[in-house]
């Protein structure tokens, strides 16, 4: 490929406002003020997704609060208290309001706080959150990826339900929140707060906030950098943790039906700001800061996870000389390392194999030798025995022969004697006759 044109890339920048671009006044209406609308339209067509994780002991009203917040009845039965470990159950719902479609994912911790030994309770929660980050990271690292149509399951907000004891945080709460604060946006809420009186509630909130601060737990702060919402967010920051009451039952107050909990001594109205902080929670969580929660999850928590994971895998941005690694170098270095290890392992295995074979060979040879020796010995023994037997046989044969000879001699003698005897008897007879 012969390049005939020489490339001169010049960048003319005017450093007037630090961003490398100069501010230019417009002499007429251009029309790019429609960009936010174009962006919003694209998102509306795409749909939104929001994932909430509810952490809290069984029976604190997590499901009821979700029902109340999103104005629906989510499916599911209430859970038992005898779970062996903490499990996370997630349910996805499609909600729609005017032209906004929301894919809401509610994850519940089942069995949290029910075990006798709660040391490992937080682990399954952390694992679940990490698994969602991992799935996103895998998708991002793929070669052929579809990020824009990826169904985001990362947890955007974690509602931590604090039991309304009125005193202080339980140690399980502190430990769990400490483990979660660098992975997810934590919004602590006091559940079933109609169990606490107003004065106790104020003291409880102060105690909780001071405990969180003294233990270094970073809870989610509503952002105060945008002037439109800075004021309301900073006020709400002061009301944390929110004391909420959830209810899906309606009670008639005056001439309106409101959601409330009815007691013999009075009725707690969910949406009455004097009774509980439910309205504040809904305002902050959904109506003002949903987008910020999603953004913080992506730009802070996910980035932190990604950084740690990639560093764990051995990737670096700069080598010891602070020169940036190129992607290719890193990949190749990694691959070479891997191949090298493979080869080493192969070598080791081969050597071990050769060694074993040698040993076995030696053993077999030994055995063979022994067998030979034994054989020789036996053979010799056998020969000796044979010889002995032959000797014996010979001796016996000799004896037999000599016996035979004696027998024949004896017979002969007997025959001679008989003859002589008969002749002598004859002679005797003759004598008598005479």
């Amino acid at each position: 490929m012969i390049v005939l044109g020489v490339v001169t890339i010049k960048l003319c920048v005017f450093w007037l406002d630090g961003e490398g671009a100069r501010a230019v006044p417009l002499s007429g209406h251009v029309g790019f003020d429609s960009m936010p609308d174009q962006l919003v339209n694209k998102s509306v067509n795409h749909g939104f997704c929001f994932n909430i994780l509810c952490v809290g002991e069984t029976g604190l009203g997590k499901s009821t609060l979700m029902d109340t917040l999103f104005n629906t009845k989510f499916e599911g039965e209430s859970t038992q208290h005898n779970q062996p470990g903490v499990q996370l159950k997630s349910n996805t719902y499609e909600l729609q309001e005017s032209n906004v479609r929301l894919k809401l994912n509610v994850v519940n911790t089942v069995g949290f706080g029910d075990q006798i030994n709660k040391e490992d309770s937080y682990k399954s929660i952390v694992e679940f959150i990490d698994a969602q980050f991992e799935a996103y990271l895998q998708e991002e690292l793929k070669i052929k990826r579809t990020l824009h149509s990826y169904h985001d399951t990362r947890i955007h907000a974690c509602l931590y339900f604090i039991a309304p004891t009125g005193h202080s945080l339980k140690s399980l709460d502190l430990v769990t929140m400490k483990k979660l604060d660098s992975k997810v946006n934590i919004i602590p809420i006091i559940a079933k707060s109609d169990a606490i009186s107003k004065s106790e509630l104020a003291k409880f909130k102060i105690k909780i906030t001071s405990e969180l601060v003294s233990n270094g737990v970073q809870i989610y702060q509503f952002p105060t950098d945008d002037e439109t919402v800075a004021e309301i967010n900073s006020t709400m920051n002061g009301h944390l943790p929110f004391a909420v009451v959830g209810s899906t039952e309606e009670v008639k107050i005056g001439n309106k039906m409101v959601r409330a909990r009815q007691y013999p001594w009075g009725t707690v109205q969910v949406e009455n700001e004097n009774h509980c902080d439910f309205v504040k929670l809904r305002e902050m969580l959904i109506r003002v800061n949903m987008e910020d929660l999603r953004e913080q999850t992506h730009t802070r928590h996910y980035e932190l996870y990604r950084r740690c994971k990639l560093e764990e895998m051995g990737f670096k941005d700069t080598d010891p000389d602070s020169k940036p690694f190129s992607l290719q170098e890193t990949y190749e270095a990694k691959r070479n390392e891997f191949m090298g290890e493979l080869q080493k392992k192969e070598e080791e295995m081969r050597q071990m194999f050769v060694q074993r074979v040698k040993e076995k060979e030696g053993e077999l040879k030994e055995a063979e030798k022994e067998l030979h020796e034994k054989f020789d010995r036996l053979k010799k023994l056998h020969q000796d025995e044979k010889k002995k037997l032959e000797d014996k046989k010979k001796a016996l044969d000799d004896e037999l022969n000599s016996f035979k000879q004696k027998k024949t001699a004896a017979e002969l003698l007997q025959a001679q004697t008989q003859q002589a005897g008969s002749s002598s008897t004859l002679k005797k007879d003759k004598e008598r006759k005479k």
């Binding site: 104005n71 909600l95 941005d317």
Partner: protein
């Protein structure tokens, strides 16, 4: 809070008329706020022989002196001997919406006697921007917002010969339409009569089809039926016959941008005179976000796939891609 008539639809439908409003649609307002705070970026490249009115068109489009020529005070106005690529950024603001506009000029294109491979330096520049973005994206410590210098849109200026596309035009558009969104325009269209213009456009469209050149809006990226209807209308008008001007004249009591000649004044924003308004609406008012999306989710992704595959190719030419298209280092992570 007591908004009536907004009922969410869940799996178990339960309509509460009085407290039915949850407030999910407030996210649109939140997104808008975030977008206004962050501002937008747009990078537009102009390609064409010198003298076709590129700088004037840029100035007319963005109603301010954004072109390179307007900023040159001491530089001589000469045609460079080789293709240069000059990029200038501007911060413009309209009704609270801030935009960082970068105009990338390519003086020297098509001006040499031998214009072979004239598209190469430009292709190299575009790929260099993709590379820069990719490098930033794969960093371990990366910025919250990766600065986007990728070329979103390339406006190609066709001289108003009235006949058909020249070989240099076809060569350039054939190569570049694969890596960037190309918007072809007929420059200095006030030299063509309406019939000549229509004939020219038909010829150009036939030439583009014959050479399988896909210009913006590309047929294959239409998302749904609605999109297709809107985009078909645009595709029937391509290439836009434009006239640029930054001079205002008095016409019928109003001050309008135009070109004044002895036989009349060509009004730039009059759709009966030229198609500048359509081009502006397409580029800025309706499809700007779509142009950026196609650049980032299709052209950039294609570059990324090519680049990452290059890395995994071993010296003897074997590719080490696994069946699920996961790059090799992923395998390393599980096996180490």
């Amino acid at each position: 809070m007591a908004d009536v008539g907004k009922t969410p639809v869940a799996r178990n439908e339960k309509t509460n008329s009085e407290f039915g409003y949850v407030g999910i649609d407030a996210i649109l307002e939140q997104m808008r706020r975030k977008a206004m705070k962050q501002g937008f970026e747009f990078n537009i490249m102009v390609v064409g022989q010198s003298g076709l009115g590129k700088s004037t068109l840029m100035n007319t489009l963005f109603k301010s002196k954004v072109s390179r020529r307007s900023l040159m005070t001491t530089e001589e106005d000469r045609i460079p001997k080789t293709i240069e690529i000059k990029s200038i950024s501007h911060d413009i603001e309209e009704k609270g919406v801030r935009m960082k506009l970068t105009v990338i000029d390519t003086p020297g294109f098509g001006d040499q006697i031998n214009n072979e491979n004239c598209w190469q330096p430009i292709m190299k520049f575009i790929n260099a921007q993709y590379e820069q973005y990719l490098q930033e994206e794969i960093n371990i410590e990366r910025k919250k917002r990766i600065p986007d210098s990728r070329v979103h849109c390339c406006i190609y200026f066709i001289p108003p010969t009235g006949h058909c596309l020249r070989p240099i035009d076809i060569e350039f558009m054939r190569h570049l339409s694969k890596v960037v969104n190309i918007v072809p325009v007929i420059a200095k269209a006030d030299t063509l009569t309406l019939e000549e213009r229509d004939f020219f456009k038909q010829k150009i469209r036939a030439d583009l089809r014959a050479n399988e050149i896909d210009v913006y809006p590309q047929k294959e990226f239409d998302e749904d039926a609605e999109d297709r209807i809107v985009n078909e209308k645009i595709r029937e008008m391509i290439p836009f016959a434009v006239v640029g001007s930054d001079q205002e004249y008095q016409v019928n009591g109003k001050r309008l941008l135009g070109r004044k000649t002895r036989w009349g004044t060509v009004e730039v924003e009059n759709t009966a005179h030229c198609e500048f308004a359509y081009l502006r609406d397409l580029l800025i008012r309706t499809h700007m976000q779509n142009i950026k999306d196609i650049t980032s989710s299709i052209h950039y992704e294609m570059y990324r796939v090519r680049r990452l595959n290059e890395n995994n190719t071993q010296p003897n030419g074997q590719t080490a891609i696994h069946a699920n298209s996961v790059p090799e280092h992923e395998v390393l992570s599980h096996e180490m």
